[in-house]
Amino acid sequence: MKLLRCPINGPRPVSEFFYWGEMRAMPDPNVADDAQWADYVFNRNGAPGIKKEWWHHMPSGVWFVVERDTERDDVKRTYLYGQESA
């Protein structure tokens, strides 16, 4: 089973985690036009690449960011939100 390193709890089997999906920046709802908003709500970047994703360690409730090569399923690094530089 794949291992994933939770920044707080360390490496655990991926079955202990919940995958939310790729992080997407919400456009300002008051500025975005309908098309831009629909693009944000529905469209995804489905092509392989190194993506920033939201993952959640269920037993501890920790949300964190995973940078992962989705083609090789290879985790580059994980960190708490906002601590990217750390």
Binding site: V14, Y19, F42
Partner: protein, 413 residues
């Protein structure tokens, strides 16, 4: 012993011609380029040639014929969908399926087995009735049955599912069928090839050439082709192609895994699907149980296998069929499912003139092979979305007009 097998014994030399020609090089231009030599791409090529007289076509395949989800799915064919769009589309597909073997003169082992979608909760029973009523209204043979009917159809099954999820009833869809998946691609491939279509294996698309919003050509690892029409039928690889054109889609890619037992003497006639237990199973003509579960929980664009999948599916299989404890799993594998937010495909015209999508097949593309070929060839030939796919256009998302297949969300098989 059918007479037609005699000739093999009688002729000293193998009497079968080549199914598909091999081509040393690409031509400089084609009327239509189809990306993907899976069932969908080859079916489209076949109907282009047969129904629209378009034969100057290149089908480009990065790997080999039918090597993607066509050769990896669990071959279930049904039309018991929830929305009028879905039902009409798949019903047409099932009708086409039934005559394919004769049409190809190739036995696809299209086998009508009856299909049960099991319901373990009262909310699942509600969805079951919803689908049954919509199906009946649209002339599709589906009905709500109850636990004892399920037990009759499979006397050996533990309908309490080890007490974990007692079966309350099911959606019974008599036309539910299975078929020999690879042969479908071969049949369409041969039919297209015989009509002049060129199938190029080991040919990868590297770029697509667009000018003023119109398709001009395609760059491949074997050279440049000029064309004005490109049909993209590459399932899990669709985003790689649309990315080349800066077309945004809702497609996201998760692996879908499957596994198969060692052959055993036939005992399981119908196809069973359980949403709650994430199981779908049928027995192949070879005697293997072919099984699948739900999508992998996260995005991956390769076909690696996981052990979690086998553990979960094995456990739920034994809940339903405890007597399989000694049956052995021979092999597991995976395919890439191109999922959409409303569980309906994305087909037809796109913002780029001359570029057409046949995608969003998620976990249910195999059964749509004939009708997608028919409707996409029409759509490309006429540059007008076929009426059967008007509910499936890419534009429905920006218009917030989703197609409600999601209402019946369960294992999508």
């Amino acid at each position: 012993m059918p007479y037609r097998l005699l000739r093999f014994a009688l002729s000293s030399k193998h009497p079968e011609p080549r199914m598909f020609r091999s081509h040393d090089s690409l031509k400089s231009s084609y009327d239509v380029v189809i990306i993907g030599a899976g069932g969908h791409g080859l079916a489209a090529a076949y109907y282009f040639a047969r129904d629209h007289g378009i034969t100057n076509i290149a089908v480009l395949e990065k790997g080999y014929i039918g090597g993607g989800n066509t050769g990896r799915n669990t071959t279930i064919i049904r039309s018991n969908y929830l929305t009028p769009e879905g039902v009409a589309f798949y019903d047409q597909s099932v009708k086409l399926w039934q005559d394919l073997s004769a049409e190809f003169d190739l036995n696809l082992f299209y086998s009508t087995r009856g299909h049960f979608t099991l319901a373990h909760t009262d909310s699942a029973m509600r969805t079951t009735r919803w689908r049954a009523e919509v199906n009946k209204h649209l002339g599709v043979d589906s009905e709500v049955v109850y636990a004892d009917d399920v037990q009759k159809a499979c006397p050996q099954m533990d309908i309490t599912c080890a007490g974990n999820a007692p079966i309350l009833g099911a959606l019974y869809h008599a036309p539910g069928a299975i078929a020999r998946h690879d042969a479908v691609a071969w049949g369409y491939g041969r039919g297209a090839d015989q009509r002049g279509v060129e199938i190029h294996q080991k040919t990868e698309v590297l770029g697509i050439d667009v000018e003023a919003g119109e398709i001009k050509g395609v760059t491949t690892n074997r050279g440049y082709i000029s064309t004005r029409k490109v049909l993209c039928a590459v399932a899990g690889s669709t985003p790689r192609i649309t990315q080349m054109l800066y077309i945004r889609t809702p497609l996201y890619i998760h692996p879908l895994q499957a596994m198969v037992t060692e052959p055993m003497k036939p005992w399981l006639d119908p196809i069973f699907v359980s949403g709650s237990l994430h199981v779908y199973v049928s027995q192949s003509a070879r005697g293997e149980l072919v099984m699948g579960a739900s999508l992998d929980p996260y995005e991956v664009q390769n076909t690696r296998s996981t052990f979690d999948f086998v553990e979960g599916l094995a456990s739920h299989m034994l809940d339903m069929f405890p007597f399989l404890s000694n049956a052995k799993i021979n092999r597991q594998w995976a395919g890439l499912a191109d999922m959409t937010p409303d569980f309906a495909p994305i087909m037809g015209k796109t913002p780029v003139k001359g570029f057409y999508l046949d995608s969003g097949w998620g976990t249910w593309g195999f059964k749509a092979t004939p009708v997608s070929g028919k409707t996409m060839s029409y759509t490309v030939a006429k540059d007008e979305n076929h009426e059967l796919i008007r509910g499936f256009t890419l534009s429905r998302f920006k218009d917030f007009k989703l197609t409600g297949e999601k209402g019946a969300a369960s294992v999508g098989h």
